[in-house]
């Protein structure tokens, strides 16, 4: 690749580089012959859709995983990290999307966690505190070393993570989706820190779904698709459209865009829904959201992490209490009803995290499938096992679950089939409207297509479907209508004929003040 040759010319700047990196998991190739360079004092951003291999590459660069083949060089010498701790000792630190701080400890103890400065009298807290103050001064931050981390805002917690990395003399800092949960002001603050760091010669690897934001901060862009580097360029030569074009490419057919047809009556109607944020007095996560879904209609909600999709769906389903607003199901307000009563009335939720919220791991496939509709096969206070069995068998064939039978342990199923169990469970309650939070998360492309096929089929039979996704290609699969959510509000609305570019542009965060 000619771009790669170009990079080699300016190798004096390159601190860490990967050459011909291949990573396979079982039969899937996550990375194929990837070349990647990290330069001193520069921000290199890695773009790509979910599953393109960004996280895998970051894990390899930070020592969390080892490549199947290919090599890493640090300062021109070949190197192999045995663990992330090993990588850290060479100055390569990663800050994960989910922060790894202990919320109950203060800033000082978090920064020196596991590396406490010891003196004859035990831990030298005074010295640690002094060093933290120096670090925070260097970052131009006023964070007291003795504040418990849980009292800090998320953006400040991120700064603490950065400070911790710097305290181990990080020369290369990998940031995975650092802005996804930050407010605009906090993003600005973070970017100022990033600028300071690069000025001090720290190399930054940046991953973000916020394309505009990333374009604003980065010096170099590398685009990954299906484990292959499809493009690389300096930021001066590219624009948003360039990134999207190289990110999207050809995709597996997840279903045909539906033909326009007459929908039924409005089944689900959300009016001015407000869901309070995690911080009291902070901005609400769902801000005056209104949405109507008709019988037979499939609505896709696209948004970045932290856009408020999960909170909105969980609130509609009854897990959370809304600050205000109403949820109407066939014209009846269900906002005060319990989850069970809402299911009874025909409103079902397939949660985002199927391990945590969807499945009972101690029960069999069959019992998971029948869990939400138990009351429908109770006769004279006892469960009718014949009714249950027929319901389970019906569900298994209905949603195409590949299992040895209803009695099989749920853990024996693949991720995609487990997801189908969760969907089958809720479909067995005969809902009028079903909400699915990231139904394609963590399942392979074949299972994904099947899930969408099931949803499309049910919608044809009159079910109102709302699903969320953070992959643009999924928006364009089966949805009749695409809603782009941003910061708890509807940022844009498209028909089935929308383009990836439109959707991505609408979801991207506003450019932060220069």
């Amino acid at each position: 690749m000619s771009a790669a040759v170009q990079i080699a010319d300016v190798s004096d700047d390159v601190v860490l580089s990967a050459r011909n990196v291949v990573k396979t998991y079982g039969s899937t190739q996550a990375l194929r012959n990837v070349d990647f360079d990290v330069r001193r004092g520069k921000v290199t951003t890695l773009f790509g859709e979910n599953g393109a291999g960004k996280s895998t590459l970051m894990k390899i660069l930070s020592g969390v995983e080892r490549p199947t083949s290919g090599e890493l060089t640090l300062d021109g010498r070949p190197i192999s990290f045995s663990s992330s701790t090993d990588a850290r000792s060479y100055g390569v630190s990663i800050i994960h999307q989910e922060l790894s701080l202990a919320p109950n400890l203060n800033v000082r103890d978090n920064i020196f966690m596991g590396r406490e400065i010891r003196s004859a009298k035990g831990v030298d807290f005074a010295e640690e505190e002094r060093q933290v103050r120096v670090l925070m001064k260097g970052l131009n931050q006023e964070i007291d070393p003795l504040t418990p981390v849980e009292r800090l805002r998320l953006g400040q917690q991120q700064i603490v993570e950065i400070a911790r990395a710097l305290s181990i003399n990080a020369r290369i800092l990998i940031m995975d989706e650092p802005t996804s949960a930050l407010s605009a002001h906090e993003v600005e603050l973070l970017f100022r820190v990033v600028h300071d760091l690069t000025a001090r010669g720290v190399a930054i690897v940046y991953i973000s779904h916020h394309l505009e934001e990333a374009l604003h901060i980065t010096n170099h862009a590398v685009v990954l698709r299906d484990g292959v580097v499809t493009a690389r360029a300096d930021v001066e030569d590219i624009d948003l459209e360039w990134i999207v074009r190289h990110m999207a490419g050809e995709n597996f057919n997840l279903g045909t865009p539906p033909e326009q047809r007459d929908f039924g009556d409005v089944v689900l109607s959300i009016r001015d829904l407000i869901v309070a944020g995690p911080v009291r007095a902070g901005p609400p996560v769902v801000d005056r959201m209104s949405l109507d879904v008709r019988a037979g209609e499939i609505v896709c909600i696209y948004g970045l992490m932290g856009a408020g999709r999960t909170e909105m769906l969980e609130c509609i389903a009854g897990r959370d209490v809304p600050e205000s607003g109403s949820v109407l199901l066939c014209g009846q307000n269900v906002a005060r009803l319990s989850i069970a009563a809402r299911i009874e009335k025909g409103l079902a939720l397939v949660p985002e995290d199927r391990q945590r919220d969807g499945l009972v791991q101690t029960m069999t496939v069959g019992r998971n499938l029948s869990l939400a509709s138990i009351t429908s096969f109770v006769r004279h206070l006892v469960l009718s096992s014949s009714r249950e069995e027929s319901l389970v068998d019906e569900s298994i064939s209905d949603v195409h679950i590949k299992t040895a039978g209803g009695w099989a342990p749920i853990g024996s199923l693949s991720g995609g089939n487990q997801q189908k169990v969760v969907i089958g469970k809720m479909l067995a309650t005969h809902p009028k409207a079903i909400l699915l939070d990231e139904p394609s998360r963590g399942i392979d492309v074949g299972a994904k297509a099947e899930v969408f096929r099931i949803l499309a089929k049910r919608a044809e039979a009159g079910l109102a479907v709302v699903f969320t996704t953070s992959e643009v290609s999924e928006c364009l699969s089966i949805a009749h209508r695409i809603i782009v959510m941003r910061r708890g509000r509807i940022a844009a609305e498209f028909g089935a004929d929308a383009t990836k570019e439109d959707i991505m542009a609408a979801s991207g965060e506003a450019v932060v003040a220069a």
Binding site: R342, Q355, R356, L371, I374, L383, E389, D393, S397
Partner: protein
């Protein structure tokens, strides 16, 4: 793929039970095997051990903490623990003793002597009330079960002691003139040679077993103990289930208290001290997981009999009470080790089908990473 799916999924009469597997059978039948070994060993050591009379005596001992164990099983299935059952057992006996002496209603200037059945029901209500306090503390106010029931354990024991300033009610016989005789029926009478206490225990066990395996409540309990969040989102009334199990446990403890005081024809405020631990031991030996969601009545019964028959056997062959404690402890530790083996093996079962990141890590309830490809 679709063809395979439907042929597997819709095969008529697919049994809802696991395949036959000798290793697993031995592991899951371990409590039963242990019981057989215990009976065989003690029978060879003492000619009195394997007699009908001794079996009945031992069973009536088992019945008392077995009652607590069944209540405890439901709590453990829910993922909780109930440390207050021993105290509740004591309080129940004291309430029975108090009522049998007659209640002086100074307002009316009369002394009421409630009949035995009224006494029994009032004791159960007291037990249920204690359970309700536990349940509300845990389900409504989110107090950890261990702490909530620990506190209630002390309070209830204190109340039992306060009722008589630590004295024992010695006469629970009642008087024919007051129409409240028959309290000893529970402890002394037999039905077809079986002590009434054991009969009551058996009835409760059968009812609970049906409740767990055949009623919607049982399914709700297993689901909310296995994964409360998933159960809640599936429409299971998780809080009601949680409160119910503590109420049930309290009532079981109260019945245990009635049987014990009836057997002794006296009610002491310290009765049932540390019985909660024996009950937990029986549940654990019976194969239930303290993390919730796994266990059944059959296992708990076996666990109760293993512990009861072991300690009574040691008494019969004349081993010191101190050694009994050591042996009982060893049995519990062994049981927990085997539990760990059983559930660990299940947790690490390799994936039958490719394609999903369902690692043991994920099953441990952690957030899934995005898939690698």
């Amino acid at each position: 793929m679709a063809g395979l799916t439907s042929s597997l999924g819709t095969r008529p009469g697919t049994p809802m039970k696991a395949r036959f597997d000798i290793g697993r059978l031995l592991l899951e039948g371990r409590a039963f095997l242990a019981l057989i070994v215990i009976v065989a060993v003690f029978s060879s050591l003492s000619p009195y051990y394997l007699t009908v009379a001794n079996m009945m005596t031992m069973s009536s001992h088992v019945a008392i903490f077995g009652m607590l164990a069944i209540g405890m099983l439901l709590v453990v299935l829910n993922g909780g623990i109930d440390l207050s059952v021993g105290s509740t057992l004591g309080l129940s006996g004291m309430v029975a003793g108090f009522l049998m002496q007659g209640v002086t209603l100074s307002y009316f200037g009369v002394t009421a002597y409630p009949p035995v059945w009224v006494t029994a029901i009032l004791c159960c209500l007291v037990g249920g009330l204690v359970g309700l306090v536990n349940g509300v503390l845990i389900a409504r106010f989110k107090v950890p079960a261990f702490v909530a029931t620990l506190g209630v354990m002390y309070m209830v024991r204190g109340l039992a002691l306060l009722m008589t300033n630590g004295l024992t009610y010695n006469d629970l016989g009642g008087q024919t003139a007051h129409g409240n005789t028959g309290f000893d029926w529970l402890g002394f009478n037999r039905l077809a040679g079986v002590p009434i206490g054991v009969v009551v225990f058996a009835v409760i066990a059968v009812v609970t077993s049906v409740l767990l395996s055949r009623a919607a409540f049982g399914r709700w309990l297993y689901a909310s103990g296995g994964n409360a969040r998933a159960a809640e989102l599936s429409g299971v009334p998780v809080r009601i289930v949680q409160v119910s199990v503590y109420v049930f446990s309290g009532v079981c403890a109260a019945i245990g208290g009635l049987i014990l005081s009836s057997q002794l024809t006296s009610a002491g405020p310290t009765a049932g001290t540390s019985y909660e631990l024996t009950a937990i031991a029986a549940v654990v030996v019976g194969g239930a997981a303290l993390t919730g969601g796994r266990g059944n009545v059959r296992g708990t019964l076996l666990g109760a009999f293993v512990i009861g028959f072991l300690s009574d056997g040691l008494v019969i062959i004349g081993i010191s009470a101190y050694w009994q404690t050591v042996f009982t402890g060893a049995v519990i530790v062994l049981a927990v080790l085997l539990n760990a083996l059983q559930y660990h093996k299940r947790g690490r079962r390799p994936q039958a089908l490719p394609g999903g990141p369902t690692s043991s890590l994920a099953r441990a309830g952690q957030t899934l990473p995005t898939r690698p490809a």
